[in-house]
């Protein structure tokens, strides 16, 4: 570190400050005042209003009302006009007219409240926006049964795709804005780290809980989605995937209000693979063995007596229970308002041993002084969850609970005659599924998020802001594999504890200026931000325990030779400068410019800083006479924006050659070995996303129909990529900035108030489309030649099945060694005489014959919600749809492939009954014998249409008349069904959560609830 240079910088900074002071001091200086005016400001109920800004029009003189709503100000002369402004209230001007006492009543401005939109590092009136920002107030969020706030956005916002990755309680959502990766999530202005995960240290790993489970969805006041660069550029290197701003509820002025709500529900499994029953299974095994010239395995008498056999999935399942309790209190009559809440969430999963519990509490405090405003938001959450042993793709003793339950022979009982877990004598490596329930995988997450801010008025329209925040998340994962499982028996018990934590600290300082000058209004800020994520990890564990009874509580009992410890630490940080200026002329023409200057230590000196600008403009056409005269549009705004964001999502080790450490053995002694496992590139630069957006906001029929339409293009250049290199260069890939990708799409959302009378009926609809492809593909990146240059990035390629070889006469010449009963693959591409790839058949089935099958992401999405109010009843539902989407149906291919029958004596789906046999040559499904060509299972036959239309939720609620019940202000009861209907062609599991081989079954939840206001 260059200490001297650092010192010079500081001295320079101080000098600069002194100069600024002296100039400011001059501007603060003013004449002595003559007339003292006092008074009281109240709301229409007569309650005093505190912190109302009181200004003498045309001067810098201002003050704010005190505790009792009283103020005192010195006016210039008797003709002065006093202006009263207060957030959420209509501004009022009072001419002095010689008086010394002026009392005013301010009226609430519900209109203006709705129109304020939270933007990065500030707020803005919706009508002033020039960027693409979707704002979803709490009441429009999806009523989800998931503990994470992201779930509440499913199907609700144009351009936002929420994928539920698994239905396991508390497990993660994946969120994508305009087809990008995980967006930055900002909670009350604090950019979140996304949390940490920890592993089990054994061969099973259930999916980690969602990183945002600690947020209580009930605490949310609104969620803003920043989509285009005009909105996200101010987040610079972290803004390229879009930004989600979550704003929590603030205390409401007035008497304390207490709200209590409770929901209780039951959950059932939906959509599973249709497996064979005991007798059917045994018969199929025998048939297949006969086909291969082997003896049948099971006697007919035995099979006749066995019936359906053991239903392993039922053995490990139960009814799920869902329970969500909320209590909050809000109020504050003086200068201080508070919002306090508590949440108790409990979800017992439909698979035994899986559950998720959340205990969380929040305190939000706001204090408004004469010249300053202070706020502190603090949230603490304790999350506990038990996971089932999952391990997608794990075979034999490493297979997951759910895979085992689906594939274990139904002819085996749960326990043998001795009461021990029965295993299949033919495949002793395979654990009894029920035994796997004894594996413990427990996670406890502590999350503290606290953010405080001070705003101080420095001059008229100018205020400074300092924010200090801390996020601390620690995950402790403890696991034990007992002897009752195959792996546990092999290791005589295996225990592990992993602690991982992230400590996210941040400082923001900013100067904000906001002022109107006749027809001009300016709203701007400049700031400095410093944020770092410190990650720490510890793990310890061992095997060979004297007893299973102590689980992971006494690791010292393990074998000292195999016990292990580990630790790690790393830090990610940014130093940034940022700024924004909004300018509006005559409320008609809007202009915004933002910048961010981001620095990260991941880059070598010289490339460490990067500048991200944006400019945008808006034209409020509804203010123009030629539009007014049409008498059609109540709102019409044209927007256009251009800007840049970036990404630094690679590891420090990509730029700096770090040595990997390992142990090597010579002569029964261990030695250290150190070597470079990756190629590095000291010239790496920031990846840049350049986004252009054009949008139109409109309202017609007196705003009964409102809508927004956006078209955008994102060009991602200097991609941070690990390009493939030839192994003769020592490594198979190298980090580079390479190529360009284009992400283009459009979004439309419409809100229509169908009925506005006694029956209120509102509907909302959104639809969006997005394509991600190469704009400048470098062959260095994708050497797989069968991939088309312009194919979407998420394309699926597979061999194309044209049928099954019925008999020996049908063996295609391109597959000379194939036998009847095997797939026929289409010969589509090949090589010419020089070995160059050509789009022509070459008489051979090779990997070149894999062809485009569609994309794994939906080509387009839509969502629809409807709210119906009639008297005391409210009925609403929400639909989410993903269209034109393909998926390799892992589970279908696995369970319909009878080669495992003879090989592994394991169960399969009823689809195997459709397979080719010498007696059934006209079958759609291959025999199951290993095909020397193509891919026996990863082929077009098992690539399903995974599009779906899903009713996510239906709620019916009733407002109970409570006038006569003392102490209760309101009482609401409701019925709620989650996931009631899904329309899809996908075969077997759920098209959203069921793409893997061993998915957790998706669930349907029926719940009832009450909501009491005190």
């Amino acid at each position: 570190m260059d200490n001297k240079r650092f010192t010079y910088r500081k001295v320079g900074a101080l000098l600069f400050i002194v100069i600024i002071f002296s100039s400011l001091k001059m501007s603060f200086a003013r004449q002595d005042q003559d007339i003292k005016v006092t008074g009281k400001v109240t709301d229409k109920m007569g309650q005093p209003l505190i912190g109302v800004s009181v200004t003498i029009k045309g001067t810098n003189t201002s003050t704010a009302t005190a505790e009792s709503g009283l103020y005192s100000i010195n006016a210039v002369d008797a003709k002065s006009i006093i202006v009263f402004t207060y957030i959420g209230f209509v501004r009022k001007e009072m001419p002095l007219a010689g008086q010394n006492l002026i009392n005013v009543t301010l009226l609430e401005d519900s209109q203006s409240l709705e129109e304020v939109v939270v933007t990065g590092y500030g707020t803005q009136k919706r009508s002033d926006l020039t960027g693409s920002i979707a704002s979803i107030p709490a009441e429009q969020l999806l009523k989800s049964v998931s503990p994470t706030p992201q779930a509440a956005l499913a199907g609700k916002v144009a351009g936002v795709r929420i994928d539920q990755r698994t239905a396991q309680p508390g497990a993660g959502m994946s969120m994508s804005i305009r087809g990008g990766g995980s967006p930055l999530i900002v909670i009350d202005g604090f950019p979140n780290s996304g949390g940490v995960t920890a592993g089990t240290g054994n061969n099973y790993n259930s999916p980690s809980p969602d990183g945002f489970n600690f947020v209580n969805p009930d605490d949310i006041e609104s969620i803003e989605i920043l989509k285009d660069a005009a909105a996200t550029s101010i987040y610079g290197a972290r803004g390229s995937n879009g930004v989600v701003l979550i704003t929590t509820k603030k205390g409401k002025r007035g008497k304390a209000q207490i709200n209590f709500s409770s929901k209780l529900g039951v959950q059932n499994r939906i959509n599973d693979v249709n497996l064979l029953g005991g007798k059917q299974f045994g018969t199929q095994v025998n048939e297949f063995r006969q086909f291969l010239g082997q003896q049948p395995l099971y006697e007919n008498d035995f099979l006749n007596g066995i019936g359906e056999g053991t239903n392993w999935v039922s053995e490990i399942s139960r009814d799920g229970i869902y329970n969500d309790n909320q209590i909050n209190m809000s109020g504050g009559e003086g200068r201080t308002q508070y919002y306090i809440s508590g949440n108790l969430y409990d979800n017992r999963g439909v698979i035994k041993n899986s559950d998720f519990k959340k205990y969380s509490g929040r305190v939000n405090l706001n204090h408004v002084g004469e010249k300053y405003r202070v706020s502190i938001n603090a949230n603490y959450a304790l999350l506990k969850n038990n996971g089932i042993s999952s391990n997608t793709g794990g075979q034999n003793e490493n297979a997951s609970l759910l895979q085992l339950a689906r594939q274990f022979s139904p002819l085996i009982p749960v326990r043998d005659a001795d009461g021990a877990y029965a295993i299949n004598p033919n495949v002793q490596l395979l654990a009894n599924p029920v035994s796997m329930l004894e594996v413990t995988d427990y996670q406890e997450t502590n999350n503290l998020l606290s953010n405080a801010s001070v705003e101080y008025d420095l001059a008229k329209g100018l205020f400074g802001r300092v924010e200090v925040g801390l996020e601390n998340q620690m995950v402790e994962r403890s696991s034990y594999v007992p002897r009752s499982t195959v792996n546990g028996a092999r290791l005589s018990g295996q225990a592990n504890i992993s602690d991982n934590s992230v400590n996210n600290t941040r400082l923001l300082t900013s100067l904000n200026f906001k002022r109107d000058f006749s027809k001009h209004s300016i709203n701007s800020l400049i700031g400095y931000e410093n944020q770092s994520y410190l990650y720490k990890g510890r793990s310890l564990g061992g095997t060979d325990f004297p007893t299973d009874a102590l689980l992971y509580y006494n690791l010292g009992l393990g074998n000292p030779e195999t016990n292990y410890v580990g630790s790690s630490q790393s830090r990610v940080k940014w130093v940034s400068y940022l700024g924004r200026a909004n300018y509006a002329y005559n409320n008609k023409y809007l202009l915004t410019a933002t910048f961010r200057y981001d620095g990260s230590p991941k880059f070598q000196e010289g490339n460490r800083f990067k500048f991200y600008p944006s400019v945008s403009a808006g034209w409020r056409l509804e203010e123009e006479n030629f539009i007014k005269n049409l008498n059609t549009f109540s709102q019409l705004k044209l927007r256009a924006s251009w800007g840049q964001t970036g990404q630094d999502n690679f590891n420090l080790g990509d730029a700096i050659p770090l040595l990997g450490l390992s142990k090597i053995v010579f002569g029964n002694q261990e030695y250290f070995a150190a070597g470079q496992n990756n190629l590095t590139n000291p010239n790496l630069q920031w990846q840049t996303t350049t986004e252009t957006n054009v949008g139109l906001d409109f309202g017609i029929f007196n705003s009964r129909l409102t809508g927004t339409f956006d078209v955008y293009s994102r060009i991602i250049s200097d991609l941070l990529f690990r390009r493939a290199t030839d192994p003769e260069k020592g490594y198979t890939n190298a980090p580079v900035n390479l190529g360009k990708q284009a992400n283009k799409g459009w979004e439309l959302s419409l809100d229509y108030k169908v009925l506005t009378g006694r029956v209120k009926w509102n509907t909302a609809f959104n639809v969006f489309q997005n394509t991600y492809s190469w704009a400048d593909r470098q062959d260095k990146v994708t050497p797989l030649l069968y991939r088309g240059e312009n194919d979407p990035l998420d394309a699926i390629y597979a061999y194309k099945v044209t049928g099954v070889i019925k008999d020996a006469s049908q063996v295609p010449s391109s597959m000379p060694n194939a036998k009847p009963g095997m797939w026929i693959f289409e010969d589509i591409n090949g090589r010419d005489a020089n070995g160059n790839f050509v789009n022509q058949p070459d008489g051979k089935i090779t990997s070149d014959d894999q062809v485009y099958m569609g994309t794994s992401q939906p080509r387009w999405n839509w969502g629809f919600s409807s709210y119906l109010d009639y008297k005391r009843f409210n009925f609403n539902f929400a639909v989410q749809a993903m269209m034109d989407r393909k998926a390799y149906n892992n589970a279908r291919a696995y369970f319909a492939w009878p080669y495992r029958l003879v090989d592994a004596y394991q169960n399969m789906s009823a689809e195997v009954l459709e397979r080719w046999t010498p007696a059934n040559t006209n079958a759609p499904l291959a025999s199951g014998e290993t095909n020397p060509y193509g891919d026996a299972t990863y082929n077009s036959y098992f690539i399903d249409d995974a599009s779906f239309v899903r009713i996510k939720n239906i709620t019916l609620s009733y407002q109970v008349p409570v006038k006569k019940i003392i102490a209760i202000n309101s009482l609401n009861i409701f019925l709620d069904v989650n996931n009631p209907v899904t329309i899809t062609k996908y075969n077997g599991y759920d098209p959203e959560t069921g793409l893997s081989l061993d998915p957790y079954p998706n669930v349907r939840t029926y719940s009832i609830g009450i909501n009491v206001g005190l």
Binding site: Q294, G675, T846
Partner: protein, 493 residues
């Protein structure tokens, strides 16, 4: 109040203007950076030891369950009990579909060695002796990796730069360039390496052995005359006077006889670190440990019955091939039962059992060192080479008889062999009996032009012409050719 205002502004401006660029120095908490390495002898050792990485995975790589077994599975010797190695067993491999990629990783390790050698040579704090030894060892390893590629694929690109240009597309070295490099490097390394090192490290004997093996492959792909170099190199190893045959065949692999003088190169194993899981690979599920050891039984490959049946029943080497295994009867007592009875109709072979049970087994991992090269191979190679050069001769007979006598078999007599060819076939047979499932069979068959023929004889589905020699080299993986179009495929693929 105004002071307050000024202080607040000062605070904000201080941060906004001064910033903290120095806070952006990269931090590495838990890894070794480039600036603090290659300083001490310990660094030099650790940096060089890294090159052994591909020899010591728990399975695969150059360990006994890697190259040796995977190559044997393509011959008439080993057979998988499952479908896993269908492409290998049935000659169905193509440039896009294959069971093993033994091209990529050895090549990467060979090229990474360049940088290690470069760093070692630049070190100033290392004594001349230490430097000479470590550099020799690194050069030996680099040549060894290239030699593995040569055995299986023929020449690859020969990249010798410490900082290769990743955009340069070289073509494959010629047969001459490639073999000359391997020969020169191994010869140089053999000069500088000591006779004895800790098990698992390179020695003079190991370098010469690898050299002899390469000459053997060259007799098929370059010129028969390389049998002269085979004979000569074998003689050099014998003349080291360091190696000998163990009295007992099965004790070559015994846990309490590790590091014995028959072993020329072995991978050292510690159960809790990189344990050998050969045993788990071969034990049938019904096998019960007579000593009550906890065992993993994966039943992956067997020695074909056709090979088993060629052994003389009195051959002591059969002690390492089980046709009966211990199982529990209905009373729970251990009895020995025929593998064929246990397997039923589908029995493919006997159980390869050179590595036995280990009471200190850790999961599937045992402490058995895995023997890669041993002295008996040297004697039989010299016997073969002399026959190829001069026809049946007394020295060859003497060499073979050393091996046969240990196996408790009658000595052979020169008069039994009327021609070079009959003697050659006899030596080939003796090699299989002596070196079964030690990874020599593929090279042996290819050297004698029998690789394709044997496959046709056992009705491998991917081959019909016994004279089709293109299988003698595996195809370069297609993705390599797609990345670098200057690389040509082996003929026939």
């Amino acid at each position: 109040m105004k002071n307050c205002k000024i202080l607040f502004l000062a605070f904000i401006l201080y941060f906004t203007v001064s910033g903290c660029e120095n806070a952006l120095e990269p931090e590495t908490f838990d890894a070794i950076g480039p600036t603090n390495f290659w300083k001490t002898k310990a660094d030099a050792d650790a940096g060089m030891f890294y090159l052994y990485g591909w020899f010591q995975p728990e399975w695969g790589g150059m360990s006994a369950t890697g190259v040796p077994v995977r190559m044997d599975l393509t011959t008439d010797e080993l057979k998988g009990t499952r479908n896993d190695y269908n492409r290998s067993e049935n000659f169905l491999w193509t440039s896009t579909q294959y069971d093993n990629d033994f091209y990529t990783e050895p090549l990467q390790m060979a090229v990474r060695a360049n940088k290690v050698i470069d760093n070692l040579e630049k070190m100033e704090s290392l004594s001349a002796d230490d430097k000479k030894l470590l550099v020799a060892e690194a050069r030996c390893l680099r040549a060894w990796y290239y030699a593995i590629i040569y055995d299986i694929y023929g020449p690859s690109v020969l990249e010798l730069s410490a900082e290769p240009n990743i955009d340069e597309k070289k073509s494959r070295a010629t047969e001459d360039e490639f073999t000359k490099f391997i020969i020169d490097e191994l010869t140089a390394a053999a000069n500088d390496l000591p006779l004895q090192q800790a098990t698992g490290r390179m020695t003079k004997g190991a370098a010469l052995m690898r050299l002899m093996k390469t000459y053997m492959v060259m007799t098929r792909f370059v010129d028969k005359s390389y049998y002269n170099q085979v004979a000569e190199t074998a003689k050099k190893i014998m003349d080291l006077g360091y190696y000998n045959l163990q009295d007992s065949y099965e004790r070559i692999w015994a846990l309490d006889n590790e590091g014995n003088k028959e072993i020329i190169f072995a991978v050292s194993r510690i159960a809790t670190r990189n344990g050998s899981n050969w045993l788990a690979h071969v034990l049938p599920a019904q096998y019960e440990s007579p000593e009550g050891n906890p065992l993993q039984k994966w039943n992956v490959y067997r020695l074909r019955w056709d090979v088993y049946d060629t052994f003389d029943p009195s051959d002591k080497r059969l002690k390492t091939i089980l046709s009966k295994i211990p199982v529990k009867d209905s009373q729970g007592t251990i009895i020995y039962q025929d593998v064929k009875v246990i397997d039923g109709n589908n029995s493919v072979g006997a159980v390869p059992f050179k590595y036995g049970e280990d009471p200190n087994i850790n999961g599937q991992a045992t402490n058995y060192d895995e023997v890669i090269y041993r002295y008996a191979d040297v004697l039989l190679a010299r016997a073969e080479a002399l026959n190829e050069i001069q026809g049946p001769n007394n020295e060859s007979i003497t060499l073979i008889n050393q091996v046969r006598q240990r196996a408790g078999l009658a000595a052979s007599n020169l008069s039994e062999f009327s021609s070079k060819e009959t003697f050659a076939m006899r030596i080939l047979q003796e090699r299989q009996w002596e070196l079964a499932f030690e990874g020599v069979r593929r090279d042996d068959l290819i050297r004698h032009g029998l690789y394709a023929k044997k496959a046709v004889e056992r009705a491998a589905t991917g081959i019909s012409n016994p004279g089709d020699t293109h299988f003698d080299r595996m195809p370069i993986p297609q993705y390599i050719l797609d990345r670098n179009t200057n690389i040509t495929q082996n003929p026939g693929y």
